[in-house]
């Protein structure tokens, strides 16, 4: 069985794996601890699940710790998370109490691991207070913010800032997300894991089985949007675009696939709006998939003729990256991180309305050769820029940079 590094060399290129080995050389033997708040579910856990063994193979003594809490803690951190993303969120004294107390309790357990560590990566707001709770810390501490914090609720940010300001550095996904802080703020775009269930190569039979499971006709074109049922993802706009395009492509099928909305009242409302908009159209499928339906999403993306991400507002948009990795051109909303990925006429099209999306659907579905060309470019672009190996390289570079924080040029060896 090949090592993880060998497996990544197969898909990402031997060059970058060699690069990782060389960058990791000065960090060999260092202890590095990642801390987040969940081992299962969510993009951060998915990435850490692969990142930690990869770092270990590079000779870094990496480990992953998870803080635990009760329902009031998760209610508080959900409010923090939403507030950081710009939603007005209640922030009550009981939330504060649950947040601080839960972190204090976790610090009791984690202190013997965190204080002697050479490097500590604390992911997202949930465990942010740990730094202040580890007074004997020896290493560098980095706060990794995975959230779109470009327009946070100011009150929430002021509260959180007191915990993150003392870190040695922070990492944001895009320059627009960075907030004023008294330490270096590295910019490292998110990535997808090409070996994970959501992105690994799938046999045709698996793709066909998923098509059959949802009653999709393989002989007709299918367009897909994968996203939560959220107004910012504009599912109703996608249905409008589909209708406009279907007048010219009668066989067109649409799949809107998203996560369950049981704990999200607004999500449920948006799902109902989409349902009402879809009406009785037998060629529209609204799929509520469980959070771990990675292989199903993978198959749907591979089965699609084109992928849409018609967001009105978007952080980075990893579903765009996933579709592009599968060689699909993406018709994306002209916003946020989608602009970094969808390059007009090269990897897809940026659109600002259902009409614009419909126009591009028609354009592409009539030009299979163009779809293949753009899809190949999209995949190459992701391979070069948005795979996990690139993110690891930038983490290693940032760590090396942090040890020489005031210098623009660091010569090793």
């Amino acid at each position: 069985m090949p090592s993880l590094l060998e497996a990544y060399a197969e898909v990402a290129g031997a060059d970058i794996v060699e690069h990782l080995r060389q960058l990791a050389e000065p960090l060999r033997g260092m202890t590095l601890v990642h801390v987040n708040s969940t081992r299962l579910g969510g993009g951060v856990a998915e990435i850490l699940d692969r990142l930690v063994p990869l770092m270990r193979e590079l000779g870094i003594d990496a480990r992953w710790e998870v803080i635990t809490g009760e329902a009031p803690f998760y209610a508080a951190t959900k409010a923090l998370h939403n507030g950081l993303q710009g939603q007005r969120a209640p922030w009550t004294p009981s939330f504060q109490e649950a947040y601080v107390e839960t972190n204090a309790r976790n610090a009791e357990q984690l202190r013997p691991i965190l204080e002697p560590a050479d490097l500590v990566f604390v992911h997202d707001p949930q465990p942010a207070p740990l730094l202040g709770l580890c007074p004997g810390r020896r290493g560098k501490w980095i706060w990794r913010c995975h959230v779109d914090a470009s327009h946070p609720d100011r009150r929430i940010w002021r509260y959180l800032r007191r915990f993150v300001a003392d870190y040695d550095a922070s990492i944001f996904s895009l320059a627009a997300f960075a907030q004023p802080l008294p330490h270096p703020q590295y910019l490292i775009a998110p990535s997808i894991d090409p070996l994970g269930d959501k992105n690994r190569e799938l046999p045709d039979a698996e793709v066909d089985a998923v098509r059959a499971r949802f009653g999709l006709d393989p002989g007709r074109p299918m367009i897909l949007q994968v996203s939560r049922f959220d107004r910012f993802k504009d599912p109703v706009g996608v249905i409008q675009a589909y209708r406009l395009a279907k007048r010219f492509i009668p066989g067109l099928q649409l799949v809107l696939a998203g996560g369950g909305a049981s704990d999200d009242p607004e999500g449920e409302a948006v799902y109902r709006e989409a349902e009402a908009s879809a009406g009785e159209d037998p060629d529209i499928r609204l799929l509520l998939l469980p959070a771990d339906a990675h292989a199903t999403i993978n198959a749907l993306q591979r089965a699609a003729s084109l992928v849409l991400q018609k967001s009105l507002r978007e952080g980075f948009g990893l579903t765009v990256t996933e579709a592009m990795w599968k060689g699909k051109p993406v018709i994306g909303g002209d916003t946020g991180g989608i602009r970094l990925q969808v390059i007009d006429y090269h990897t897809g099209f940026l659109v600002n309305s259902p009409e614009g999306a419909a126009l591009r659907i028609r354009y592409l579905l009539q030009r299979p050769r163009r779809v293949a060309e753009m899809g190949a470019k999209a995949r190459a672009y992701v391979q070069e820029n948005f795979l996990l190996t690139r993110q690891v390289r930038e983490y290693l570079t940032a760590v090396l940079g942090l040890h020489h924080a005031t210098e623009d040029r660091i010569e090793l060896g």
Partner: protein
């Protein structure tokens, strides 16, 4: 090819033969500066004081950092002026500003300011962009490391060029322009120590324009120059 030689590339002056060429590699990491511009005047104001490492990032960093290789304009400033301010004339003026033409980044900064201020003098109104289209000034840190590979003679480089990493190409061919006098590169600087027989390869390397290309294309061009002038398989 030998391993473990720490000698820097470059001629040794009076030595009978230059020391081996030590292959280096590099990685770039971006840092937020917190500086943002929403119109041309703000862009100018930040350009007055932004660090040279930010200019470096916005002009050369695109080669090593996530980004699409086929851009309409070759630097981030011109791209923003075109994409967000929709001012094609100024975008074109900024796009022709090539860092290789300047002794250092400070001289290039002057040229940038001159172009923008001349444009502002003529402008009847100032275009503003939405908040999510602001120009974000970013700076970079470059980490340089030794690959522990080196070559004794120019001919030995030819077979290695095809496998050079993008970081090595960037360090020796792009970054060198900021380190060496007269915008040279590490290959030419080293070859200069080998005298006249190697002038043709130096001249041809000097004719490569790195500004509108990708590191992979650049590597291929450099490899062809070595193969055609010094022989050997790439």
């Amino acid at each position: 090819m030998s391993r473990g030689d720490d000698a820097p590339p470059g001629p040794l002056g009076s030595d009978p033969e230059p020391r081996p060429f030590a292959l280096k590699d590099c990685a770039l990491v971006a840092l937020a500066t917190g500086r943002r511009a929403q119109n041309l005047k703000e862009l100018r104001d930040h350009l007055l004081t932004v660090s040279a490492s930010s200019l470096y990032y916005h002009f050369w960093g695109g080669l090593l950092h996530p980004g699409f290789e086929e851009r309409a304009y070759a630097n981030d400033l011109a791209e923003w002026v075109h994409q967000s301010l929709h001012d094609t004339a100024l975008a074109e003026r900024l796009a022709v500003i090539d860092p290789s033409d300047f002794a250092d980044l400070e001289a290039m900064r002057e040229e940038l300011l001159e172009a923008i201020e001349a444009h502002l003098d003529q402008a009847s109104a100032l275009a503003w962009v939405p908040v999510d289209r602001q120009f974000q000034f970013v700076r970079s840190q470059i980490v340089v490391f030794d690959t522990r590979r080196s070559v004794a003679r120019p001919e030995d480089l030819t077979p290695m060029l095809a496998t050079l990493s993008a970081g090595s190409v960037f360090y020796h061919f792009i970054d060198a322009r900021q380190r060496l006098p007269e915008g040279s590169d590490d290959f030419r600087a080293w070859l200069a120590g080998w005298g006249e027989p190697y002038r043709p390869v130096r001249d041809r390397l000097g004719a490569i324009d790195p500004y509108f290309t990708t590191l992979h294309e650049l590597r291929a061009e450099i490899a062809i120059v070595f193969a055609e002038t010094l022989g050997g398989e790439t």
